[in-house]
Point group: C2
Chain length 276, copies 2
């Protein structure tokens, strides 16, 4: 596996590569990331990944400084996964000057996770656009665990006429249902035992909807109440349309149940799709 | 010359082309545009131009509907200039849905022309980014007459890590000094006779600075007073640094004098560079 920190180095290395598939990450790789890499391999000839903890997408009070950085282990995992090239820029490579030109997503950036993380999706969209311009892939893979991020990046790619196909990868879960996340490492053993309640709660809502309960507002409210009674601090539980993450219309068939809640230090997010 | 309206058509046609040079326009081509095409030819193998009157960059009270559209004559001129491919999308090709993802330039977008045309440079940056993503040139040429636009596009290209070299083309002038512009067609014969005063005023400021007069605020004020006394409605005359269009510092050597003023219907802009 080639490793490059400089934009120039990546461009040079990829110059004559056929069908490039790209999987951007912030490192601290777990089985969820590796599943995306495996999926990427099926879509192209050259699989490129990147590791960059992107300051632009972290709020002032968020965990940019403490975000787990495990570069050596990450490289071993990427090597084992058969990645061809890793782009691992320093901050001075990607942001040699303050990033003044940014992608401004529409109002969806201020809803759900965006309501609790002002500027987050603007930072995500901007760094991903830059990474796209550097790697110039034909295909890019993002996990469905960050459902809103996937939607925003898919829409950005289409609206900016980027010649890139965006693919969503399924969320990988621990045996007890907890969605894998770099932020799970912040959990104490007690919290880790409690953590699967988030995905269980989503599954319960899915089951209720499946049985015909379409009182979405009450389902959301009850779920938040249950979580908070067990020591969580819930930002939202929301039942939305898959297509645009807006409130379901009477004829909506493809829904997604999304949640974000803090358990101890980490803020965990998860979601479940449902067809009705 | 190939002509394509669809994004798909352009991509297909350019798939195997070497070094592409791109000159985007809004049509109504004059000798200033053709000079950019000639310059483009020197920088690559395949010269691509585009004609698209971009609604996004026009204000609500501006001349989007009346902007001169002369497609047949434009095609003849491009053909004569040896252009290889013209991208002439309909609005439904470039904006099949409302453009919600936009490039947000920094505060320079609200200064000079931006102060009088809110949202203008956001619209310019967004459409140019889309055109870049469609044509994927190695080089792009923009006229220096739109000096602020050139600076913003150059900075956007660098900050978004686009692999494109931006080249500025010199302003082409009529014999009496008037900078060529599609909007000159709005001038009555009397106004056309008066119009060269704009470039003369800039030249007088350049001469005064050259002789050691560095009282920039007074030079600007006097020039606006003179123009407005002759029936112009001046938005600004401004002496700025070439590098960032900010006010000159004591050690600034490379300056540019910029002006925008309305004469009858059209709002004319012009600028002159000066080294001190």
């Amino acid at each position: 596996m080639q490793i490059h920190a400089s934009i120039q180095g990546v461009r040079q290395a990829l110059k004559n590569c056929a069908r490039i598939v790209f999987v951007p990450t912030m490192g601290n790789l777990h089985a969820g990331h590796i599943a995306l890499m495996t999926q990427a391999r099926a879509h192209g000839d050259t699989v490129v990944s990147s590791i960059f903890v992107n300051r632009l997408q972290f709020g002032l009070n968020e965990d940019f400084n403490s975000y787990p950085r495990t570069f050596k282990e990450d490289c071993e995992k990427l090597e084992a996964a058969g990645i061809d090239l890793l782009f691992a820029p320093r901050e001075s490579d990607l942001y040699p000057e303050p990033q003044q030109y940014q992608v401004d997503p529409p109002d969806i950036q201020n809803q759900l996770d965006g309501a609790f993380r002002p500027g987050h999706f603007r930072g995500v969209a901007t760094v991903v656009l830059k990474l796209f311009n550097i790697v110039q892939p034909q295909v890019a893979v993002f996990g469905k665990k960050d459902y809103q991020q996937l939607l925003i990046l898919r829409n950005m790619t289409r609206q900016l006429a980027l010649p890139i196909e965006i693919i969503g990868g399924e969320t990988v879960r621990a045996d007890d249902g907890l969605a894998l996340s770099s932020r799970n490492t912040y959990l104490t053993p007690e919290e880790r035992a409690e953590a699967p309640r988030l995905s269980r709660t989503l599954a319960e809502i899915r089951e209720a909807i499946g049985k015909g309960d379409h009182n979405f507002a009450k389902l959301e409210r009850d779920a938040m109440f249950t979580l908070d009674n067990k020591g969580w601090k819930t930002d939202y539980v929301a039942i939305r349309q898959q297509s645009d993450l807006q409130a379901p219309q009477p004829d909506s068939r493809e829904l997604v149940i999304l949640a974000a809640s803090r358990l101890g230090i980490p803020r965990l997010i998860d979601n479940l799709e449902i067809l009705i």
